[in-house]
Symmetry: C2
Subunit: 227 residues, 2 copies
Amino acid sequence: MIEIVPLRGVPEVTPDADLAALLIASARAAGGFRELDVVVVTQKVVSKAEGRLVPASEKRAAIDSESVRVLRRQGEMLISETRHGFVCANAGVDESNVPDGNIALLPVDCDASARRLRSRLQHLAGVDVAVIISDTFGRAWRVGQTDVAIGVAGIEPFNDYVGTPDKQGRIMTATRICVADELAGAAELAMGKTDAICAAIVRGATVTRGRAAATEIVRPPEQDLFR
Amino acid sequence: MIEIVPLRGVPEVTPDADLAALLIASARAAGGFRELDVVVVTQKVVSKAEGRLVPASEKRAAIDSESVRVLRRQGEMLISETRHGFVCANAGVDESNVPDGNIALLPVDCDASARRLRSRLQHLAGVDVAVIISDTFGRAWRVGQTDVAIGVAGIEPFNDYVGTPDKQGRIMTATRICVADELAGAAELAMGKTDAICAAIVRGATVTRGRAAATEIVRPPEQDLFR
């Protein structure tokens, strides 16, 4: 069985905050962190802790500067590629759940942010957890958004079945499940968007330990049929 | 807290099987179904129960006949639009986890399949559950696949925040979370691809009761920037 536990009561995070310590305090109500827990933290709170806020008046300039390439334009909204390689609306720049008059940018290096947070959690809590930084992205062809992984530390982003047999013994040739995105989406189910919950623990999922990164989830442009 | 419980021990499903009865028997080990449980069932097992298998020798013809439009072609693989409107590899036709010499097609009407299964589960178990039929789809821009919802019965596919305030009181204008896809992906985390687990319960997620359908997740072509 898998459990998804929202971490409640984390106070508004500022650039001087020790996010790991706040998460640990919040996790006490859930019995604390355990070995192999996947700690999913929203981009918004990581960006706040890293001081990645700018005045809302600079939104247009921020979106332009965070975009390395524009794929589509629809009214005020761009679908663009960020310097990390992510394709999303407005290069991940948005104002929801940030202090009035500000907008939040994505972390400069989301995987490095995940690694730092994981390291600090391990230092303070003394257990080996994985960290995923999640953000809410739209998709081609399907309405609405889901939370996906933009930073990963401590686990492989994929459960890769290529070359392994299915239950009929047939070798699978293409099945490579992006569990990091499924974990981010599962955590969103426990966090919602209005309750000021910025993190959740996913406990009991089959994941593979590894020194991996969310940048591996970015499809290389030369293999991408839709970029 | 959300729990995701895999349903183990469902035998190989054939066209004369009562899938609802098999799921109920399997759910006994998890204490049975409860009100508001979301029962996620893989497309493959639904297709088997509905006799949507054809000989593997007809694969190319089946893919062509299941596709209403081809978006991209890469070697043997098509990215095409199914008659339901889903954009996926090979119109959802594949051979993994089906009896040797066969391939499985998507259900003819995945939402109708979900409604029938929900109705039968309610009849046999006496509780009001929701049903999601899941399938494993690739995505534009991101490597790997995740499980998404292709059939929905009993819940709204979206948690729609458009017009509601965020925690700063700012009205959200675009946030419409496709919880059906997140639920399908969360269930995949508990099922995996090799253990012959064809269903899981997601219990405790915030969902909205409703007479909804997965076809609502299909982005209308005229609003789709990438079709």
